[in-house]
């Protein structure tokens, strides 16, 4: 099940994954795109507080996603 799709909040800290889908409306997608996170991009989960906010590493940028954002991003391992 290494390649199974899952929401970002389920990804354990330290794991690298690829974004497959950004849901939750245009606003989030637009904002993430501008910050370098769009579909197909690799990211690494640095900190994840369960179902709350998480911190990810995209290229050389650390992005913090607020509560609920990580539910809307689907990734594969």
């Amino acid at each position: 099940m290494a390649d199974a799709l899952m929401p970002l909040f389920n990804v354990p800290e330290g794991k690298e994954v690829t974004v497959t889908e950004i849901g939750g409306g245009q606003a989030l997608r637009r904002r993430l795109t501008a910050m370098g996170l769009n579909e197909g991009v690799k990211l690494k989960v640095l900190h994840s507080h369960g179902r709350g906010a998480c911190v990810i590493l995209v290229q050389n940028t650390r992005l913090m996603l607020g509560h609920g954002m990580a539910h809307k991003i689907m990734v594969k391992g």
Partner: protein, 711 residues
């Protein structure tokens, strides 16, 4: 004569744009990642190579859509004020993301110089860039720089001047969104061409892209065009067609095109060798935003900030107060007699100035701490740590610190809300902030708790007031979020900048900026308000006293105690017969259902608008006890209703304290609400709704308390 040119600095937040600005203009500005900070237009000037250059520091943005105020400001400046050159500052160690903004400047077709800043850091990360090749690929001059070391600042100024003079121009390159998109863009442009008026201001290719992206601002502009129907019909058709073949929005496809262009250019001219490794910042984050340690560390830091703020600022505030008192006494002694002019200058003007100045120490110290937390990069982490909790009341992590600061003083707290990017969140945070019980309310609590509650209950009563304030804030925040500032919360995504040591100079500048803004914008309002309240409590001047005080004073000559007593009584009677006194009597019926229908309490509440601690001073004057708080407590206990029963019971005292906690924010808070919302309407709204909330809360407590058997 030096030739005058204008250059605009643009770039992502954290790209070092502000450092570049400071280097160029020599005018230091705050370095941090507060998105709101640069919403004000920051300008500087320099002379270079025979040019007089005006430099505008545009707000830091990731993009140029119409979805945030910062982006609209940046883009409208470029479109409407047409700077001679836009200097795009790029964080060289985050090339691809930073170049996304660049592609949008390219779409705008403005003269562009690309500055790869922090090149030293990027090299350490394994990034090497072929300057010449990169310039050709991007169609604009590319220059390296290290702004923090002031390296190569002249190189990009030279490049900018070359552009102005028409030298060394690279052939424009096009971004290329794919054949299908290009074809539709062409169709839209063909329709747009008819409207010469709009094309004078905006490039047609850019308008076409924005139409496909359904950009609100551009749509609004097009709707005013004579050819609106045709243009909109074509763009609608194109969008539908493209959505049909891509199964996605054209906006997303265009974004992909931009990133495709970027990665194409990077793969040819940039040697990327970096691996994702643990940086120092990540190690620090291991502690600071650790699942278990993060919160205690944050709360500990906040405790230190609070402790520092109060240990340092309270003595300073006292110093200012006694300083102002000294000046008042000195000026007062210059007047031979008690005249209206003396009262105006001493009690009105000087104490008004004092009311403004007294907040300065706390503003300076709070923003010293805030500037350090921001500049170091910790502020963004704090937002992460608190996001979960704040989410529950419909706000974001960013709102926590302003709320917390409210316990100290609502004035700097509301000013700190500027860091909240989302406008709705910011408004809610500003509007509910005054429910956080600030330090000025403590003297009122202290007086009433000591007078009406047993010693062993004092702590609990006090704590319950603070708790009640928080609960009301949370409740109202939820209500506002639901009804007043509706709509889905904006996606909360924030960059965590690397930790760095902020420079002393940048912190000082930030402190000064905040203080200057407060003095300029809020200061005048506070001052005017104080003078109005002074007028209300000192006029009419020709009071017909019940006794001939002058004669009595004369007869008691030599008996200090009696004279002091008489003076106090005269003061009390004067205030009673002033406009404030009349207003107090007029408003008694409003407070009767809350348990404290006594004109003196109403007058105290009115004067408390200047500052809530003044409630105590006014009561002291009205009961002719001066600042003897034990005597005031006794006086309060002795107030009787018309039927002879005592007015104050613990329940009434509690109801009164709750009213003081929640009602109309003090003058300084109202002034900063006006300053930060830029609207008198919101300031007035805050005045009325908080007072309404206070009335309802006190009513519920008093009447509810009576129902369940309290007196």
């Amino acid at each position: 004569m030096a030739k005058k040119i204008t250059i605009a600095l643009a770039g992502n937040p954290n790209s070092g744009k502000t450092t570049v600005f400071n280097n160029l203009t020599g005018q230091h500005r705050h370095i941090g990642n507060y998105p709101g900070v640069t919403v004000e237009k920051i300008e500087g000037r320099l002379n270079y190579n025979g040019y007089q250059i005006r430099v505008i520091d545009l707000p830091g943005t990731y993009s140029l859509t119409a979805h945030s105020i910062d982006e609209i400001i940046a883009r409208n400046f470029v479109l409407e004020e047409k700077p001679d050159v836009v200097i795009n500052i790029i964080d060289a160690s985050n090339l691809e993301r930073n170049l996304y903004l660049t592609t949008q400047f390219m779409e705008l077709g403005v003269p562009l110089v690309l500055v790869l800043n922090m090149y030293d850091v990027a090299q350490k990360h394994g990034v090497t860039v072929n300057e010449q090749r990169f310039s050709e690929l991007l169609g604009n001059p590319v220059v390296f720089s290290v702004a923090t070391k002031k390296e190569r600042m002249h190189a990009f100024l030279d490049a900018a001047i070359d552009l102005v003079e028409g030298k060394n121009i690279f052939a424009k390159t096009s971004i290329g969104y794919g054949a299908d998109i290009q074809a539709e863009l062409k169709k839209i442009e063909d329709v747009l061409v008819q409207d010469k008026l709009i094309l004078e201001k905006y490039p047609s290719s850019w308008l076409a892209i924005k139409l496909l992206e359904k950009d609100d601002e551009v749509l609004r502009k097009i709707k005013k065009s004579k050819y609106a129907d045709e243009v909109l019909e074509q763009s609608e058709q194109s969008i539908q067609y493209l959505e049909g073949i891509f199964n996605d929005t054209p906006e997303a496809i265009i974004a992909d095109g931009r990133y495709g262009f970027i990665s194409g250019a990077c793969s040819e001219a940039v040697g990327l060798n970096y691996e994702l490794r643990h940086s120092v910042s990540d190690k620090i984050d291991g502690f600071l935003i650790n699942k278990f340690l993060g919160l205690p560390i944050f709360l500990g830091l906040m405790w230190i900030v609070f402790k520092l703020t109060f240990t340092v600022s309270i003595p300073l505030m006292n110093l200012i107060e006694s300083g102002v008192g000294g000046v008042a006494a000195l000026v007062g002694s210059l007047f031979p007699a008690e005249t209206a002019l003396k009262s105006l200058i001493v009690d009105g003007v000087i104490s008004g100035v004092g009311s403004v100045l007294v907040f300065l120490p706390i503003i300076l110290i709070v923003f010293l701490a805030m500037a350090f937390l921001e500049g170091s990069g910790y502020m963004a982490r704090a937002a992460f740590i608190m996001d979960r909790l704040m989410h529950k009341i419909g706000l974001h992590g960013r709102s926590f610190i302003p709320m917390l600061l409210g316990f100290g003083c609502n004035v700097p707290a509301i000013m700190a809300a500027r860091s909240i990017e989302d406008k709705k969140d910011r408004m809610v945070t500003i509007l509910v902030n005054s429910f956080m019980s600030c330090g000025a309310r403590l003297p009122v609590y202290a007086l009433f708790i000591a007078a009406f509650f047993p010693q062993d209950m004092a702590g609990n009563v006090l704590f319950s007031l603070y708790l009640l304030g928080m609960l009301v804030a949370v409740l109202i925040a939820k209500l506002f979020r639901k009804y007043l500032f509706r709509g889905e919360a904006a996606p909360f995504v924030m960059e965590l900048p690397p930790y760095r040591m902020p420079t002393v100079k940048s912190i000082l500048i930030h402190m000064w900026d905040k203080a200057a803004m407060y003095l300029k914008k809020a200061g005048t309002i506070i001052f005017a308000g104080c003078v109005i309240v002074w007028f209300l409590s000192n006029y009419p001047q020709d009071v017909s006293y019940s006794r001939n005080y002058d004669a009595l004073l004369q007869s008691q000559k030599g008996y200090i105690e009696q004279i002091v007593e008489l003076e106090k009584q005269r003061e009390a009677e004067k205030l009673k017969k002033s406009y404030a006194g009349s207003l107090g009597r007029l408003t008694v019926p409003i407070f009767r259902p809350l348990g404290f229908g006594d004109w003196r309490l109403s007058v105290a509440l009115i004067s408390g608008i200047v500052g809530k601690e003044i409630v105590v001073g006014t009561l002291g004057t009205l009961y002719a006890v001066g600042d003897d708080s034990a005597a005031l407590g006794r006086a309060l206990r002795n107030i009787e209703r018309t039927d002879g029963s005592k007015l104050f019971t613990p329940l009434v005292a509690y109801s009164f304290m709750v009213f003081v906690l929640l009602y109309i924010p003090c003058m300084a808070t109202i002034a900063v609400i006006k300053q930060e919302t830029n609207s008198w309407l919101w300031a007035l709204f805050a005045v009325f709704y908080t007072t309404g909330v206070a009335w309802v809360a006190s009513f519920v407590i008093y009447q509810g308390g009576r129902l369940i058997g309290f007196q």
